[in-house]
């Protein structure tokens, strides 16, 4: 199971990451379908919907720009909103530093391009068990990307028949998946301090922190409080 200190990217680890991603794949497929439905509602073309899911590969940001989608396209607001919503990914990448710094050349730059909460959680689970093969992240990301694309296409095509995705609880799939992920990340009651701080910080009024920065700021508050608690004497 463990392969200590082998900082490689092997096919075996990719397969392991893919198999660990089954629950995540269910969530991604359903979320992708929800995005396909929503994209069709704003008259995004099928090619554009798939192009966005394929290259941006970030559900929350993709949903966030849809209300802006009418001609002439407001490019700066679209790009700014995307960056603000996705800036949290830089935190996930940064948290993988102790792992990624062992790789040279283009590997860290390509691996970080795959980052999303789900793949990150799968990879960190493997890391915590002593795995040091980045293939886990690659395998998980490939599975997630494929089902995300398939879900997007299916949702787009089935949109007229489906109606309101909320009727099936589809709007909740991502948040429920992340809530489930947290049970695996739980390291005991001492986590209540940083987690509680992050949760409270999401309640900072919008007049101080704009809604699109809310998650990033709250995560920084949680990690700062956790680090302060761990290092104070």
């Amino acid at each position: 199971m463990t392969s200590h200190a082998s900082f490689t990217v092997t096919r075996r680890a990719m397969w392991q990451g893919a198999r660990a991603s089954v629950p995540l794949a269910v969530a991604s497929a359903v979320l992708g379908a929800g995005f396909g439905v929503a994209a069709r509602q704003v008259d995004l073309a099928l090619w554009a919907t798939l192009f966005m899911s394929g290259t941006v590969f970030a559900g929350a940001a993709q949903f966030a720009v849809l209300p802006l989608w009418s001609a002439p396209l407001p490019l700066a607001p679209i790009w700014f909103s995307t960056f603000a919503v996705n800036a949290r990914f830089s935190l996930l990448t940064a948290s993988l530093t102790s792992w990624l710094r062992h790789y040279r050349g283009a590997t860290p730059w390509m691996a970080s391009g795959l980052i999303g909460e789900g793949q990150w959680a799968i990879a960190m689970g493997a890391y915590a068990r002593g795995e040091r093969d980045l293939g886990v992240l690659v395998g998980s990301s490939v599975v997630v990307w494929l089902v995300w694309m398939a879900g997007t296409a299916a949702g787009f095509l089935a949109a007229p028949a489906l109606g309101d995705p909320r009727r099936f609880g589809l709007d909740l799939v991502l948040v429920l998946f992340f809530a489930a992920t947290l049970t695996a990340g739980w390291r005991g009651p001492k986590d209540l301090v940083p987690w509680g701080a992050a949760a409270l910080a999401t309640r900072i009024p919008a007049s101080i922190v704009a809604p699109e920065w809310q998650v990033l700021v709250a995560a920084l508050v949680g990690a700062t409080v956790g680090a302060w608690r761990d290092t104070r004497r």
Binding site: V26, A48, S112, W195, R203, L220, G222
Partner: protein, 99 residues
């Protein structure tokens, strides 16, 4: 009005670029930060803090069934059934909304 294909492609291409910058930017941030015990602990807490913040912020914007669905999901996930947990949570929300 529906935007034309070229401006649509430009808008989405730009989204892809800024998203990559957001993802890979973490490598730059981590290289710039000094490796003190505080920073090490900070990085250790970052990932789960992102997920906690995302869950709480999203639920806060939603409706009541969202909280109940999340509670059901966490309860079932805690006994090691993540896929069942996810589907059960969705079913709870769908059921309450149908009532």
């Amino acid at each position: 009005m529906t935007p034309d294909a070229s401006s649509t492609a430009l808008a989405i291409g730009g989204m892809a670029v800024v998203t990559y910058v957001a993802r890979a930017g973490g490598l730059v941030v981590a290289r710039v930060l000094p490796s003190t015990p505080f920073i090490t602990a900070f990085l250790k807490h970052l990932g789960t803090s992102v997920i906690v913040a995302l869950v709480v912020a999203t639920l806060g914007k939603g409706d009541g069934p969202g909280y109940l669905a999340a509670a059901v999901t966490v309860g079932i996930a805690a006994i090691g059934r993540p896929t069942t947990a996810l589907l059960a949570g969705m079913a709870v929300a769908a059921l309450i909304r149908a009532l």
